[in-house]
Symmetry: C2
Subunit: 264 residues, 2 copies
């Protein structure tokens, strides 16, 4: 059996301690660069694969510096500080010595404590009751996800940008921290929910907080996740969104925000 | 006239290109470390003061690695990449060679585009109609802010953690990007809004998106800002919040989220 295209896209080989080599994948290509989620996942993967890594991802922030060209890239992982229960990482992706993506991340040991989820999962029909949206493009990363749009149709000039979407890897793939990282970038750009026409956009920063551990991810398997997001503001050439990713059983897996450049 | 304590706390001297020296301030001391907001502001200040900096802050993410001791610190600023309209920075604060805080940031030229603020500012009485809360501590950084709590009293075991607070520097100080950065960390830890008793906490990561430029900050002057925040989840030893900072005239200045460690 051949590997899932996602695993091929984020496959890395170790060149030296803390240095990894990868290669962009046509399967996850976007307009002028790889899909940002798969870039984020490759950088997450480098950290996860590091022999000194302990604990699971807690916080991950990635700034996109410039387009990544098709071809080889390097990922450098630096364990900046290790505490008793947490680790702080700096991760850089480069091509020909030029840094193109820059991340900082925290891994931590999850502890049993008083817990309370305050965000509320919207009431939506189950994924199997929602039709799969036809892929918006015939090639590239949009082929690699199945979207079931419950609320928030693109290019419909909606009154707000709030969307509820069931999303899953295509073909199905059991959830892990790398794929969850990628899925946190699968939200439709909010400007496409507010304006009827396409405008050029590009994510410049994405921030993810992981609220669940490996057990919750394993429990989810390959089932669709419920992705909820809404913009806060579109201003002066950038907009943001704030999002939640829920498991099928109603566990809040991640909260995420991102900042996106738009042309006009 | 002597300088404002905030300006003293974030004062830096240039030791070498890209390296700055500072010193912690008793005025902004917290439990075991400086107030995180003033650490963030000193790192923001180092970037802003860099002779190569252009544009204004757009995104700023800071991970706190370990407590900063009272005394001298160094801030290293690295311009990782400069594009035509944006800059990508990496900023590290250290003491005796040990990195204690790690940030990545973006500066950008603001452009006139289609704009839309989708977040809504809650209806609250004007600041002058709201009483100033007595400082929770007689020393340290809580003396340096004036809080007028409209919603969300601490240690009251509220049903949710949503708070609406007018906040301003004490003594008053005209707003700039350094003080706005610090103010983005002035939110009461959400766990104090849900539980009746104090538990040890510490911010591990803060992320800020700036939605307004220098004109909006200058227009605000030293007037109180409306700070709105709510937790998404408390789980396994960490909680987050998502927050908005509004100017007096209703401009969304910043959205922010942070992740906080708690003991039990």
């Amino acid at each position: 059996m051949s590997a899932h295209p996602f695993d091929n896209a984020i496959a890395l080989s170790r060149q030296a301690p803390g240095r990894w080599l990868g290669r962009t994948s046509e399967d996850y290509w976007n307009m002028v660069s790889p899909y940002g989620g798969v870039t984020a996942a490759a950088m997450m993967r480098a950290m996860l694969d590091h022999p000194e890594r302990s604990g699971t991802p807690l916080s991950f922030t990635l700034n996109f510096l410039a387009p990544i060209a098709a071809g080889d890239f390097a990922v450098d992982t630096e364990l900046v500080r290790a505490n008793r229960n947490s680790q702080h990482w700096s991760i850089r992706l480069s091509q020909a010595g030029k840094v193109l993506a820059l991340a900082i991340a925290i891994c931590a040991v999850r502890r049993d404590t008083w817990s309370q989820v305050e965000a509320t999962r919207p009431e939506v029909p189950p994924a199997e009751a929602c039709p799969v949206a036809p892929p918006r493009k015939a090639t590239g990363f949009l082929q690699r996800y199945e979207f079931r749009i419950v609320r928030g149709m693109p290019f419909a000039a909606n009154e707000d940008s709030l969307s509820h979407v069931w999303v899953s890897d295509r073909p199905p793939r059991p959830l892990d921290f790398a794929s969850l990282t990628a899925l946190c970038d699968s939200f439709l750009p909010r400007i496409f929910l507010r304006r009827p026409d396409f405008v050029p956009i590009g994510t410049v920063s994405i921030n993810i907080y992981f609220h669940a551990g490996e057990e919750a991810l394993a429990r989810q398997g390959a089932a669709p996740l419920l992705a909820v997001a809404q913009a806060q503001a579109f201003s002066d050439g950038h907009f943001d969104h704030h999002g939640h990713v829920w498991s099928t059983d109603g566990t809040l897996l991640a909260t995420t925000q991102q900042l996106v450049w738009y042309k006009e």
